[in-house]
Symmetry: C2
Amino acid sequence: MQPHVDTIHLGTLPLSQGGVLEDAKLVYATWGRLNSAGTNVVLLPTYYTGTHDSYRPWIGSHSALDPDRWFIISPNLFGNGLSSSPSHAQTPAQRAGFPLVSIRDNIDAQHRLLTEHLGVKSVALAMGWSLGAVQSMHWAAAYPAFIRTVFSICGTASCWPLNRAFLASVRAALAADPAWMDGAYAHDAPPTRGLKAFGRVYCPWAYSSTFFRQALYRTLGFDSIEALLLAWEEEHLAWDACDLMAMLKTWEHADIGSLAGQSASKALANIRAKTIIMPGSCDAYFTAEEARIEGALIPNAEVRVLDSPFGHCAGAPGRFEEETRTIAMTAHALLAMA
Amino acid sequence: MQPHVDTIHLGTLPLSQGGVLEDAKLVYATWGRLNSAGTNVVLLPTYYTGTHDSYRPWIGSHSALDPDRWFIISPNLFGNGLSSSPSHAQTPAQRAGFPLVSIRDNIDAQHRLLTEHLGVKSVALAMGWSLGAVQSMHWAAAYPAFIRTVFSICGTASCWPLNRAFLASVRAALAADPAWMDGAYAHDAPPTRGLKAFGRVYCPWAYSSTFFRQALYRTLGFDSIEALLLAWEEEHLAWDACDLMAMLKTWEHADIGSLAGQSASKALANIRAKTIIMPGSCDAYFTAEEARIEGALIPNAEVRVLDSPFGHCAGAPGRFEEETRTIAMTAHALLAMA
C-alpha cells in the first residue's frame, strides 16, 4: 500500500542546542485516515539510514498496523535526506554547516506536524526501531498526555556511553579518508573510501557472535562475511556522508534528561504511557542492560527482551520472520489497550 | 627484574599457508634459569601490540611467575617489531611483501627455540593473554606431550567469525586512509589518519558497556571517553602500520583445526595438558560463549569466567588489580599441579 507523502515547511526552527535551522522542511508519510476524534494514530519516527519507506514491512492489513483502522504517520528524521538535510539544505546549513538538530528538536517539529497540520488529538502508539525507539521515548516524556502507549524496539531513551564510543568509532573510520574534508568535500568528490570503511566498521556491531558463528548472514542472502561486509559498504556508499554525520550527531546527543533539566530519571518518571521496551538480547550498542536501567525508572513500563541472534538488527522492520511476528503481536497488544 | 633478551636466526622458514619467511629472526626474553632436568619452564607467547616486555607485571617474586623458581620464556610474535616484521625485514618480506605467518608457524619456530637452543624438555605452564592465549592453546594441541598445563586468558584456540569481522573492521579503518597504499607507503609517510582511526575503532571493542557507563576509564587515568580514544590513537600511531596488519593477518587466520587436518574439535581433543580457560565475562571479540564451546572439547579443561567490567582488557597484564590477582592465583594453582 502506497503512503501519502507530503512536506511541511516549518520556517526557521530554533534549536535546543543553540542556533537555528533555516527553512526547515519535514517530510512525512501517512497511511490510512484520521478518525473524527483525531485519536487513531500510530506514530513511527524513522531510524538511522532509514526513511518512512523502511517501515513498510510493519504496515498492512496482515499486520498490527492496519491502515484500515489506524492512521499511521512516519515523520522523517532531520538529516535523513528527505527532511532538511546537509545534502540539500541551502547555505549556511549546507553540508558541513548543518547544525546539531537534537532528538528533542525532531520531536517538537513532529509535534507541530501532528497538532497544527494533521489535527491529531492523541497518539495511540508511538513505536520505532533504534533511533525510532529513541524518538518514541522522547515523545512520551515530552508530551505525556498525548501518547497513550509506547513500543521501543532495540533502543534506549538516551545514548549511553558505550553507544557514543561506538559512534565515535564509525565517525573515525569515515574521517580517516582525507576526502571527507570535515564535510567540505564537493558533491562530485565524496569520501568513498571513508564511506566504505564506515559501513564495514558498523557491520560487526550490528549483529552478534552467534550470527557470525552460525553463518546466519546466509538467511540474508550472503555467502560469506566478506559478501555481507561488501553489502554494508555499498549501502553506505549510497548515502551522503554529511547526512550520515548529521544523523550520527543527533543520535549521540540523544539525552532524555534534556527534557527535564538534565535529569534522565526525572524525564523517564514523567512518562505516563503504557510502555513496552524490547531490547534485542544481544544488541551490542543499545544494550539490554541499559534498556533495563531505563525501564525501571518508567512508572508503567515493561521490559521484554527480544531473544534473537540478530543483535541490534533483530528489530529491523520485516528483516527476520520470527522477530517481526513478535513485534507485530506486541504492537497489537499495545493497541488493544491504547 | 631485567630479562635476558636474545635473538635466534632460523634461516628460511617454510610457512604453513605457503611461501617462506627468509632470514627469520625470533627475539625472545628469559627470566630465571633452566633447571637441570629442563622442566621448570613457563612459556609466555606475546599478544597483539605487545612484546615480551608487556608481560613484566606478571613476573617477579611477588607473583606466581617467580624467576627464582621458574625459567620464564617469552618469545615475540612474528610481526611485532622485534621478531621478523614488515618494518625491518629485507626484501621481499619488507613491508607489504611480508607473508602470512600463521600461529602454527609461530609455535613451530618457538618449539625450535625451546628444544634446539634452550634445551627445554617440557613446559610446566604455557600461558598468555589474548593472542598469547591463542598461541598457548596451539602449543598444547601441537605438542601435547611437551606442555603440562595451559592457562588461556581472554583468548580462544581459533579466531571465531565475529572476531574476524571485528578485525576486518579495524583493517578497513586503517585502509580508509589512502596513505596506507596497501602497505607500500614510505617509512617517512605513514598513514597517520588511518592509524588513529584504527585505534579509535578498536577501543570500544576492548571494554564493555559497564566500563563506559560507570566511567571506569577514570581508573586508567582518563577524564573522558575522548581522552581514552586519543590515547588509543597515540598508542597506535607508535606502531608501524605494516606490522599491525601482519599481526592482524596472523590473528584472523588462527585456526587450531590446521593442526589436525582442518578439524578444530580433533585438535582440541588432542590437548593433554590440564587447561584453564579464562574468558572475560564481557569480552566482545574473544567471547566467553566461544571459549566455552572450545573448553567442552578439551579433555582436561575447565572454563573459569573472569568476572570483570573491563571486557577483553580484563586480562591485560597488570592493568587491573583484582583481575591481576585472580590471574596470579590461577597460574599459581596450575603450576602447583604442573
